[in-house]
C-alpha cells in the first residue's frame, strides 16, 4: 500500500510510543497532552499480539496468554523491525513465538486462523507491526470518535535509517500516515518543557529511559528550547527484565524451600506464571513497602503464596540497581561532562517508577540537580507517559504542515548547525575585586543564538567597561582538611555514644568538595559605556550569528543609544 497522504485539514493526529515492551497512544486537548486508555483501560499497552482460535488479542489480554498460549503469542518484536536475522537478539522471545529467518527479514510462525486444518502462517515482523499498530489506531479512533489518520511516533536514538523506513512502511500498511519520527529521550524532554508552568532555560538534561528489555540514556543540551543530543548509551543488561529475573529466582527458591526438588523454572508454563506474578510484585513494590505474591498451581498443581518487602527486594536487586547508576554516570562522562554540569535528570520508562533507582541517582548528583521521578518530585510526570505525551505535542504542532514542509524542516540541512564549544560571557568584579565570568551564551548552544543579561554598573556609576570573553568550566576539587589529631578524636568518640554514628560522621568529613568553576578565556571585545548613573544597571546582548560572527549590543538600562559592535567570523 502506498503511504496515505491526507490533506492537512483532514488529519486527525495522535502521538504513539511503539515500545519493545509496551506502547502508548496520546492526544492533545487544549494544548495539553493526555495519554489515552484503551478499551481494557490500559495506558501502558503491552506490545504483544496473541491468536486464539483465529481471534486476535492485543495488549494486556495478549500478555496473559503467555501462560496458556505462548506459541501463538508474539512479544518483544519492535526491535527486530528493519533488521536481518543475523543481527537480532532473541533472548526475550524464548517464552513466546520464536523469531525465524525468512528471506533476510525476521518472521514468526503463528496459527492465526480458526480452522483446525488451516496451516500456521509465517508472518514477517513488518506484518506483525502493522497488525499491532492497526489495533492501537483503532483504540485511539474509538476514544476520539474520529478516524485517526496520522501520528508522530517515537523511536530510540540508535534506530537506523533502515529501521525507520521499515516502521514508516508498516504504519502505511495500517493506513497510518507518519508525520514524523522523533527520538524517545527528546520527546520526554518536550513533555516536561511543554507544561505551562515550565520556563525555557538553558540546561543540561539527562534522560534515563529505563524500559523492559533495554535502557537508553541520553545527555541533552537544552538551549533556548532547542535540543541537541550530546551522548547516548544503550544497554540491554540493566532493564526491567533483569529485575523480574531476580524476583523469579527469589520466589522459585522460596517455593523450593517448601517443595524440595520442584523447580518451577524448569517448566515453561510455571515459569510464565512466575514471571507475570513477579512483575506484578515488582510494580507493587514501587508504591508499597510490601508486595504479595500468589500463584495458583505454580508447579505440579501446588498453589503458592508468599510476600516480599522492599528492603529485601532492594538487597537482592543491588547489582542491577547499581548498574543503572553506573550507566548514567558513563553517559555523562561520554558527553565530556561532570555530574555537576547536569541540571535535570528525567526518569522515563516503566522501570523508572522504582524508588531505589531514583534514590541512587539522587545520591550521585549535587543537591542542585532536579531528579524528575515519582518518588523524588511531587510534580514529576508519570515516567511511562512521557514519550507518548511528547509525541502528541509534536503531532499537534505540525499537523497543519504539508508533508513536504515537514520533510524539509527536518532535513539535515536545517538541523545540522554549528554549536559553540566555549561559553561567551561578560566579566564582573567580585567583592574581593577579582574578575568573575558571567555566562551569557552557554557552551553547546546552536547558532544563530541570542542571549541577554542585565548586570549592575559599579556602585558609583561613571564610565563602565563591558568586557566580552570566552569562558569554560572546570571542576575544582578541594581535599578535606587533614584531621586534627588524637585528643579531638577521642573527645568525639565520647560524645558520639554509639560507634555507628561516629563512623558515618567520619565518612562525611572525609568527603572531598567538588565544585564547578568558570574560567575566563580569550577576550573577544571591550565596550565602554560612558556616564552611567549611580545605582544603574547595564544590559548586555550577544548575538552569535550563523556564520559564527558575533554582535555585541550594550547600554545602560533605560538609556538611549548604547554601544554596538560586530566581530567578524
Amino acid at each position: 500500500m502506498s503511504a496515505p497522504k491526507p490533506a492537512p485539514g483532514d488529519r486527525t493526529v495522535i502521538g504513539i510510543t511503539f515500545g519493545n515492551s509496551n506502547s502508548s497512544i496520546a492526544c492533545t486537548n487544549d494544548d495539553k497532552a493526555e495519554v489515552i486508555a484503551n478499551e481494557d483501560g490500559d495506558r501502558q499497552i503491552p506490545t504483544i499480539l496473541s491468536y486464539v482460535d483465529g481471534e486476535e488479542y492485543y495488549g494486556q489480554q495478549a500478555k496473559n496468554f503467555l501462560v496458556r498460549n505462548p506459541k501463538n503469542t508474539v512479544a518483544y518484536f519492535r526491535d527486530f523491525l528493519g533488521k536481518d536475522f543475523k543481527s537480532i537478539d532473541p533472548t526475550h522471545n524464548h517464552a513466546s513465538a520464536h523469531p525465524e529467518d525468512a528471506n533476510d527479514t525476521v518472521a514468526f510462525t503463528l496459527k492465526d486462523k480458526a480452522g483446525e486444518d488451516d496451516a500456521p502462517s509465517t508472518l514477517s515482523v513488518a506484518e506483525i507491526s502493522t497488525r499491532y499498530l492497526r489495533r492501537l489506531v483503532t483504540s485511539a479512533s474509538e476514544y476520539l470518535g474520529k478516524k485517526v489518520t496520522s501520528a508522530v511516533i517515537t523511536v530510540p536514538t540508535n534506530f537506523t535509517d533502515k529501521q525507520k523506513a521499515a516502521l514508516i512502511a508498516a504504519a502505511a500498511d495500517a493506513n497510518l500516515e507518519v508525520l514524523q519520527l522523533v527520538s524517545e529521550p527528546v520527546a520526554a524532554v518536550l513533555a516536561y518543557d511543554a507544561r505551562p508552568e515550565a520556563e525555557i532555560k538553558d540546561k543540561i538534561v539527562v534522560v534515563a529511559d529505563l524500559g523492559g528489555t533495554r535502557s537508553d540514556v541520553a545527555v541533552v543540551a537544552s538551549r533556548g528550547g532547542m535540543y541537541t543530543i550530546l551522548a547516548t548509551a544503550h544497554d540491554y543488561e540493566f532493564a526491567g527484565a533483569a529485575l523480574d529475573k531476580i524476583l523469579v529466582d527469589h520466589f522459585a527458591k522460596e517455593f523450593m524451600k517448601r517443595n524440595a526438588g520442584v523447580d518451577p523454572r524448569e517448566n515453561a508454563r510455571s515459569l510464565a506464571k512466575l514471571k507475570l506474578e513477579s512483575e506484578s510484585a515488582k510494580k507493587a513494590l514501587s508504591i508499597g513497602a510490601n508486595a504479595s505474591f500468589s500463584v495458583e498451581s505454580m508447579a505440579e498443581g501446588i498453589d503458592f503464596a508468599s510476600t516480599i518487602n522492599r528492603l529485601r527486594y532492594e538487597t537482592i536487586g543491588r547489582t542491577v540497581f547499581e548498574g543503572f547508576t553506573r550507566l548514567v554516570e558513563s553517559v555523562i562522562k561520554k558527553a565530556g561532562l561532570d555530574v555537576l554540569d547536569v541540571d535535570e535528570v528525567i526518569l522515563s520508562g516503566g522501570t523508572s517508577h522504582t524508588p531505589r533507582i531514583a534514590a541512587n541517582l539522587k545520591a550521585i548528583f549535587p543537591g542542585s540537580t532536579t531528579i524528575l521521578a515519582p518518588s523524588t518530585s511531587a510534580t514529576a510526570i508519570n515516567p511511562s507517559e512521557l514519550q507518548a505525551r511528547g509525541a502528541a505535542l509534536q503531532a499537534s504542532l505540525i499537523q497543519e504542515y504539508e508533508s513536504e514542509d515537514i520533510d524539509q524542516s527536518t532535513h539535515a540541512a536545517v538541523t545540522t548547525v554549528p554549536h559553540i564549544t566555549n561559553a561567551i560571557g561578560a566579566v564582573s568584579v567580585s567583592e574581593s575585586g577579582e574578575e568573575v565570568f558571567v555566562p551569557i551564551v552557554p557552551p553547546e548552544t546552536a547558532v544563530p543564538a541570542r542571549r541577554t543579561v542585565i548586570v549592575p554598573a559599579p556602585k558609583n556609576g561613571g564610565d563602565v567597561l563591558v568586557k566580552i570573553v570566552e569562558g569554560n568550566t572546570h571542576i575544582k576539587v578541594t581535599k578535606p582538611e587533614p584531621k586534627a589529631n588524637g585528643d579531638s578524636k577521642a573527645a568525639k568518640v565520647e560524645d558520639a555514644g554509639d560507634s555507628d554514628s561516629d563512623f558515618s560522621d567520619d565518612e562525611e568529613e572525609e568527603e572531598e568538595k567538588r565544585e564547578k568553576v568558570w574560567k575566563i578565556g580569550a577576550t573577544l571585545a571591550e565596550a565602554g559605556i560612558r556616564g552611567v548613573k549611580a545605582g544603574s544597571k547595564v544590559e548586555v546582548s550577544i548575538n552569535v550569528n550563523a556564520d559564527l560572527s558575533v554582535t555585541v549590543t550594550t547600554r545602560e538600562v533605560g538609556a538611549k543609544g548604547g554601544v554596538r559592535g560586530t566581530l567578524s567570523a
Binding site: D89, P90, T91, N93, H98, P99, N158, T160, S183, A194, K201, V220, G225, T228, I229, A231, T232, Y236, E237, T319, E322, S330, L397, Q408, H411, A412, A413, V414, T416, V417, H419, I420, T421, A426, S428, S430, V438, T452, I454, P456, A457, P458, G462, V464, L465, K467, A522, L524, A525, E526, A527, G528, E539, L548, V550, V563, R564, G565, T566, A569
Partner: protein
C-alpha cells in the same frame, strides 16, 4: 528566552581607555570554537528555527548531504574493537565448569581483560548473544545446544558485577606479565620489560594514579616515588575465586564450617604469598635498576664533593686567619715604628721650633737693642728695663708662630721709629685681644 539578571557589578572603565565608537574588537570565534551537531527537530522553538533557516537560504542537494556528513555522530555502531576468532575448544566448554573458564576469552575480550570497560563488556555480550543464542541455532535446524551460550551468560554475570569481576581479575593469570628473566634482561630493554610487569601489577592498586616505571631519563624523585609506592603497595587482590565450594545443604554443618575455615586460611595464605611475591619482584627489579646505582654514585660523588669543599673551605679559613694575624702583626709593628719616628720627628721639630723661638726672640730683643731702646744716646737702665720688660711681656703672651711673624716684620728694619711702630702695633693688638693690659705696658704704649 527570559533575560537573566546577575548580581556582581561590572568594572569601571580603566583610565585612558579609548576606542572608536567605544567598541574595541579583540578576538573572534574560530572554526575550532564550534562543532557541527544535529538539533532534534522537535518542539515549537525548533520549528521557529526551521522557518528562519529555510526562508533565509535554499540548499542544493549537495549542501544537504554535506551538512549531514559534517554533523558529529553521537551514535556509534562499530564493534570493530571486539572481534576475535573463537577457539573451537572453547565452544565445547560446559557451563558447569564456569569457574575455570576464561571469561574474557568467552566474550572475545582477550586483549582487553581488566582494561575492558563496562560498555565494551556489554557490547561484547550482545554480540555473542546474537551469534550463539540457542533459539537461533534451533531455528537454523541445529539441535538445541545451549552450553556455550550459558558460558557466555556466566561470563557476563561475573564481569558485570564489580565485586565478582575483581575476584576473577585477582586470579586472571592471562593478564599477568611475568617478571623478565636474566636472559631477557641481558638483551637490554630493562625499562620496557619491567615497565609492563608493573603496569599489569598496578591493576590491583587501591590507589590511583599508579606511578609508571619510567626509563633511564626518569628523575631521582620519580624513581624514588615509584619504589616507595610499590614497597607500600595497597592491593585489593583477593583469592576467594579459588575457594573450594562450600556444600550448601543444611545437614552437613560441620563439613560446611570445616570448608569455610579451610577457605579462609587458604585465602590468607595466598594473600601473604602474593605480598611476598611482589616484594621479591621489587627487590629483584631494584637490584638491577641502573638508575638506582647511578643515583647512588651521584649521591656519593656529591657527598665527596661536599667533603672536599668543606676541607678546602677549612684550609682556606685557616690560611685566611693566619694571613690576617700576620697582617695585623705587621700593621701593629709598622704603626709602632711610625709612632717612634713621629715621636722623634716631633722632638726634632720641637727642638727646631724652640731654636726658632730662641732665634726669633733674639731678633726681637735685638731689634730694640738695634733701635737703641728708642732713645738717642745712651739709654738709661730704666729705659732699657722698661723696653725689655715690654718685650718680655709681649713675648710671653704670644705663641711661637706670632713670635716668628713679629720677628719677620722686624727683621731687616733699621729705623728705630719703624721698629717701634711694629712693636707698638703688636702691643696694641694684644691689648685689643685682651691679652695685655694697657697699664702693664711701659715702653710701647699707644
Amino acid at each position: 528566552m527570559a533575560t537573566v539578571t546577575v548580581s556582581l557589578p561590572l568594572p569601571s572603565l580603566p583610565e585612558g581607555w579609548l576606542a572608536e565608537k567605544d567598541f574595541k574588537p579583540i578576538g573572534k570565534i574560530t572554526k575550532d570554537g564550534a562543532i557541527a551537531r544535529t538539533i532534534e527537530p522537535i518542539g515549537p522553538h525548533f520549528l521557529a528555527h526551521a522557518r528562519r533557516a529555510r526562508h533565509k537560504r535554499t540548499f542544493s542537494e549537495d549542501d544537504r548531504i554535506q551538512a549531514q556528513e559534517r554533523a558529529k555522530n553521537v551514535e556509534e555502531n562499530d564493534d570493530g574493537d571486539i572481534s576475535e576468532t573463537e577457539d573451537p575448544m572453547m565452544l565445547q566448554r560446559e557451563a558447569k565448569d564456569w569457574k575455570t573458564q576464561d571469561h574474557y576469552k568467552v566474550l572475545g575480550l582477550s586483549k582487553y581483560r581488566w582494561k575492558a570497560t563496562e560498555e565494551q563488556i556489554k557490547r561484547a555480550h550482545r554480540k555473542k548473544v546474537l551469534k550463539h543464542h540457542p533459539d537461533k541455532k534451533a531455528a537454523a535446524g541445529r539441535t538445541e545446544d545451549d552450553q556455550f551460550f550459558k558460558c557466555i551468560q556466566k561470563a557476563t554475570e561475573v564481569l558485570l558485577d564489580p565485586v565478582k569481576r575483581r575476584q576473577f581479575d585477582s586470579v586472571d593469570e592471562e593478564a599477568d606479565v611475568e617478571p623478565p628473566t636474566k636472559k631477557q634482561l641481558q638483551k637490554g630493554n630493562f625499562y620496557k620489560l619491567w615497565g609492563s610487569v608493573f603496569k599489569s601489577e598496578g591493576r590491583f592498586s587501591k590507589n590511583h594514579p599508579v606511578p609508571t616505571f619510567g626509563d633511564d631519563k626518569s628523575t631521582k624523585e620519580d624513581v624514588e616515588n615509584f619504589y616507595n609506592f610499590w614497597y607500600n603497595f595497597d592491593s585489593w587482590r583477593t583469592f576467594e575465586y579459588l575457594d573450594e565450594d562450600v556444600p550448601d545443604d543444611n545437614e552437613n554443618r560441620d563439613q560446611k564450617r570445616h570448608v569455610e575455615r579451610k577457605n579462609a586460611n587458604a585465602r590468607k595464605k595466598k594473600k601473604a604469598e602474593d605480598n611476598a611475591r611482589l616484594r621479591k619482584m621489587l627487590d629483584d627489579c631494584s637490584a638491577g635498576d641502573e638508575r638506582i646505582k647511578r643515583f647512588r654514585q651521584e649521591a656519593n660523588a656529591a657527598k665527596n664533593k661536599k667533603k672536599l669543599e668543606r676541607e678546602a673551605a677549612e684550609k682556606k679559613a685557616a690560611e685566611d686567619a693566619k694571613a690576617k694575624k700576620e697582617a695585623e702583626e705587621k700593621a701593629a709593628k709598622e704603626a709602632e715604628e711610625k709612632a717612634k719616628l713621629d715621636r722623634e720627628a716631633g722632638k726634632k721639630a720641637k727642638e727646631a721650633a724652640k731654636n726658632a723661638v730662641k732665634k726669633n726672640k733674639r731678633v726681637l730683643r735685638g731689634s730694640v737693642k738695634d733701635a737703641n731702646y728708642f732713645v738717642s744716646g745712651d739709654a738709661s737702665p730704666a729705659t732699657i728695663d722698661a723696653v725689655l720688660g715690654d718685650v718680655e711681656l709681649i713675648q710671653a703672651k704670644i705663641d711661637p708662630d706670632e713670635i716668628a711673624a713679629l720677628a719677620g716684620k722686624l727683621n731687616g728694619l733699621k729705623v728705630a721709629d719703624e721698629i717701634k711702630t711694629v712693636w707698638t702695633e703688636e702691643a696694641q693688638r694684644l691689648v685689643g685681644a685682651g691679652k695685655v693690659k694697657e697699664a702693664e705696658l711701659k715702653a710701647f704704649k699707644a
